[in-house]
Symmetry: C2
Subunit: 556 residues, 2 copies
């Protein structure tokens, strides 16, 4: 029997990447990346309209460019015939969301709305709806809305409802004109197959869809008398992950070079599709996607309320299991901050001489240290704390500085602090009755052996590593294979097509003991600064905000 193939597409923040994958074993034959021409619009729209602070918008036609360029390019490189490609699947950043007409036409593409910021795609990192998010959270707690506990007690300004409320309140005409308020993942699938579907992953994690429903009309009206209209704009029927949304339209077949009618899988989220790519879809297999931030993805058998998780969604990762997500808002970002903003010239000079990165120089120096040698303890909250404290007002700490402290000391303390943060998350899951049986690491940071060994030692667990360097796109290709009926379910498909290298890093007993001592210090500072004993971080941020506001007012 001839080999079959699927195409997986990972829509990232700045580009989309397509990969052609063999269905029988997940072999990645070829890939191609397409950079979005408009990238992220933070300052102005294409027509020159100036954007406010904290804006991050995108152009929907850039996404179609991925279909038009990256897919045919990858197909060509793979040497695979379109006739042997049985399915296509995508994953997307989330919550990346847009208003459309009833037929799916983005409002920003209507000439009359080209200059209206709220008509455009709001990228996941659009942060201008914090005020709306604050009200959504406050009201949910005061009304004791049952869904709020599923999100660790707090929803993010990045999600769909704050962004939609922002549109209603900033540009009501756009809100009312929008027949649909749709995730970019679902919109892109719609463009491929001509059928509107809604996926349970974004609905659950980003749109507060729980127990078969969105937040109630009463609750939404209490936020704003017209806000219950959002319910009409959202899709109420969700299609299981891995199901077939439809077949490629003639137009999409033309873009991609694939055959009309090729199965299109329901959309999904970038982090979540990494689980099958790592063959880690069973309950208790936690996938850590470690990059600028870390996303912790794991299915569980039962529905539990884990304090400080990002969300738990029925079938959110694998149909039939509860999908849990937790996160650390700053991980690689912290190491990048250290390199760019707190490392003196001598290390940069050494890196340049040796033709390596400053990260590598600092890692080498830090590797030579014994545990505890730097005498430091850091709190990894430079980007706030997502799990388990769910508090963006927290900030980073260094304790133990002396005149002998050097950049590799600070760097290593930051590496360790993120490992302590992960251990805190693992302990929260286990304490809540959600066992974590295995850790599988994906993402760019898995290439740092010092960091990996620290994680193994701090958590006292073996670390497996995902085998693919394009976990997202491979994961989407696996969902495509299920949508194309090549496998009965995700777990079977993942078993054949996903892969991880088992126990690449193992904890070293002596190191574990040393880190247990340091973790006790982390925990104590974590609780002191994070659980209300001293809200100095909140007060410092408030003072900073006051000052900046005043300065803005003065300069106006």
């Amino acid at each position: 029997m001839a080999e079959k193939y699927t195409v997986g597409i990972d829509f990232g923040t700045l580009s989309g990447r397509a990969v052609v994958v063999r269905v029988s074993d997940g072999l990645e034959l070829a890939s191609s990346e397409y950079l979005y021409p408009h990238a992220v619009m933070e300052k102005s729209l294409p027509d020159g309209t100036v954007l406010g602070p904290e804006y991050a918008l995108q152009h929907p036609l850039d996404y179609l460019g991925v279909f038009q360029h990256a897919v045919p390019d990858a197909l060509r490189s793979s040497g695979v015939s379109a006739a042997d490609v049985v399915g296509i699947g995508i994953d997307f950043t989330a919550c990346t969301v847009l208003p459309t007409q009833g037929d799916g036409t983005p409002l920003c593409l209507l000439p009359e709305y080209a200059g209206r910021p709220h008509a455009w795609v709001k990228l996941w990192k659009h942060h201008a709806a914090q005020g709306q998010a604050d009200r959504i959270n406050a009201l949910a707690h005061s009304r004791r809305e049952p869904w709020i506990a599923r999100y660790g007690g707090k929803i993010s300004s990045e999600w769909a409802f704050p962004k939609a409320l922002e549109v209603l309140e900033q540009d009501p005409e756009i809100f009312h004109r929008a027949s649909k308020w749709i995730e970019a993942a679902d919109w892109a699938v719609w463009q491929l197959c001509g059928v509107e579907t809604r996926n349970p992953c974004t609905a659950g994690y980003k749109e507060m869809y729980q127990d078969g429903k969105y937040p109630s009309s009463e609750y939404l009206k209490a936020l704003n008398p017209e806000f219950d209209q959002i319910l009409e704009k959202l899709g109420h029927t969700l299609s299981p992950l891995g199901s077939r949304a439809g077949g490629l339209t003639p137009e999409a077949a033309g873009w991609t070079g694939l055959l009309e009618g090729t199965a299109v899988a329901v959309g999904n989220v970038d982090a979540h599709v990494t689980a099958p790519a790592a063959n880690a879809t069973a309950a208790g297999q936690m996938v850590l996607i470690m990059g600028t931030s870390t996303c912790h993805i794991m299915s569980g058998e039962s529905l539990e309320e884990v304090p400080g998780m990002c969300g738990v969604v029925d079938g959110g990762i694998t149909p039939g299991l509860y999908g849990y997500e937790a996160g650390q808002s700053g991980v690689g970002d912290l190491f990048g901050w250290m390199v760019n903003h707190a490392t003196p010239p001598e290390y940069h000079a050494r890196a340049q001489e040796q033709g390596v990165s400053v990260h590598q120089i600092l890692t080498e120096d830090a590797s030579r240290q014994a545990i505890g040698e730097h005498g430091l303890m850091a709190l990894d909250w430079l980007g706030g704390n997502r799990s388990v404290l769910v508090n963006a007002e927290l900030s980073g700490v260094f304790v133990g500085l002396t005149l002998a402290t050097r950049a590799p000391d600070l760097y290593r303390a930051l590496l360790e602090s993120t490992a302590f943060g992960t251990r805190t998350i693992l302990e929260a899951f286990e304490a809540s009755g959600v066992p974590v049986n295995e850790l599988i690491v994906a993402g760019g940071l898995m290439k740092n052996p010092l960091l990996m060994q620290i994680y193994a030692d701090v958590t006292g667990r073996e670390l497996s590593l995902v085998a693919s360097h394009q976990g997202g796109a491979l994961g989407s290709a696996i969902f495509a294979a299920v949508a194309a009926d090549q496998y009965p379910d995700i777990t079977e498909a993942a078993r054949a097509m996903g892969k991880n290298h088992k126990a690449v890093y193992k904890p070293i007993l002596e190191n574990q003991k040393a880190y247990d001592r340091l973790y006790a210090e982390y925990k104590r500072l974590h609780d002191y600064f994070g659980r209300g004993a001293n809200e100095v971080m909140k007060r410092l941020k408030a003072m900073r905000a006051e000052v900046l506001l005043e300065r803005g007012a003065v300069s106006d």
Copy 2:
């Protein structure tokens, strides 16, 4: 009547500086610096003998070189005739101390002892006697020795008794051979006038001389059965500050170019002579000598126990008043650490382009910020805490770090943290019944206007600045004028010869209010980390010490 002149000499860590001063008004006519040829011996003796860790020794003949070179050079430059020079006075680093024969010959100059480290001058920053200091403190507390409270409850390993006990226990032959255990200040005066004197400043601050006596024989024997012999080696008659030790010997007249018989003042300590140089000898006039560290010097009317001061000594600064000293172990050192070890290349490049120091670049950027804008709080303990916590095991902290934190933010937070440290000291004095009426700043850091304004705003007080840039040498010249009977007392001499610019910096009410908010945060963190609620700093340092010890053991 012809003008008269005195010569003041400031013996620093690496050099001695002589200045020729007009007695009538303190005008500094000329100065000259002499670098010690042996500088600080930290690795080996002149004969190649290798020194242990934490050693810092000096060569006594280097001090005579200052008399032989800097004094005649300054005299020549001043155009003053030796006949018009009526006195010479010196101040010295302390506790810098040496063992000598009965005639004052340093043991290190005897050929048989040239290779014996303990025969040499122990510089103030010789830190190899920490073990002895720990025992001295522990025993003083367990025996409830009354003098320990006069030193904030803790004496330093830098002082005379720990260093002498180290000699007794490491090289008893040297200890027993030494007829004298003498401060370098007093030894240098002896070389000038041939008369051994002991000054009450070093005796009080560095040799625990209180209420007319040193620690008791019983106490000293309990430390080591032979250690009471130190009492014979110390001078038991103290000569008041500003009194005449003797007249220049023919030999010293030959070195200096001054006339035989010229009045030589009793020795003194560098920080303490700055008070008359600043015309700040009255009770309540606090002089802050701000350099790598800060020394706070002030006289008071009554004897009070101020928690965490370095010492209180009857007549320790001005005869007839109680001289108080407090200190911050790291101030300029912290800013230097920031520049050298935590500032990225772009600031170094800007400094180079503009031909200014990195300090200046960071200060410029930090100056543009409003108070609270950086969102940070630091604890200024990178060099431990001297006053008021008296704990070398404390370490530095940054709270409030974000991905937006930049080097000028950290720099400004460090500047502010040292100001908060000074405010803590002022509050301790006032709470103990020792009023602080005026702040006068001396030392290199007075040249940073941002730092000065921060100190004014944080303390809510006007800052006066010492008028001389050579406060130490000028102060010694003032004591010389008193010793030469040109003035009836130090206060009169200081009034004529010392000078400060009044209220150069004034607190700005709005800034004071903003800093009151931040100081409350500092205080809270200060007490949390510094008063036992969380001894994480001590534990981190202990773990670091364990690791380094183990590593040393392994590499041996």
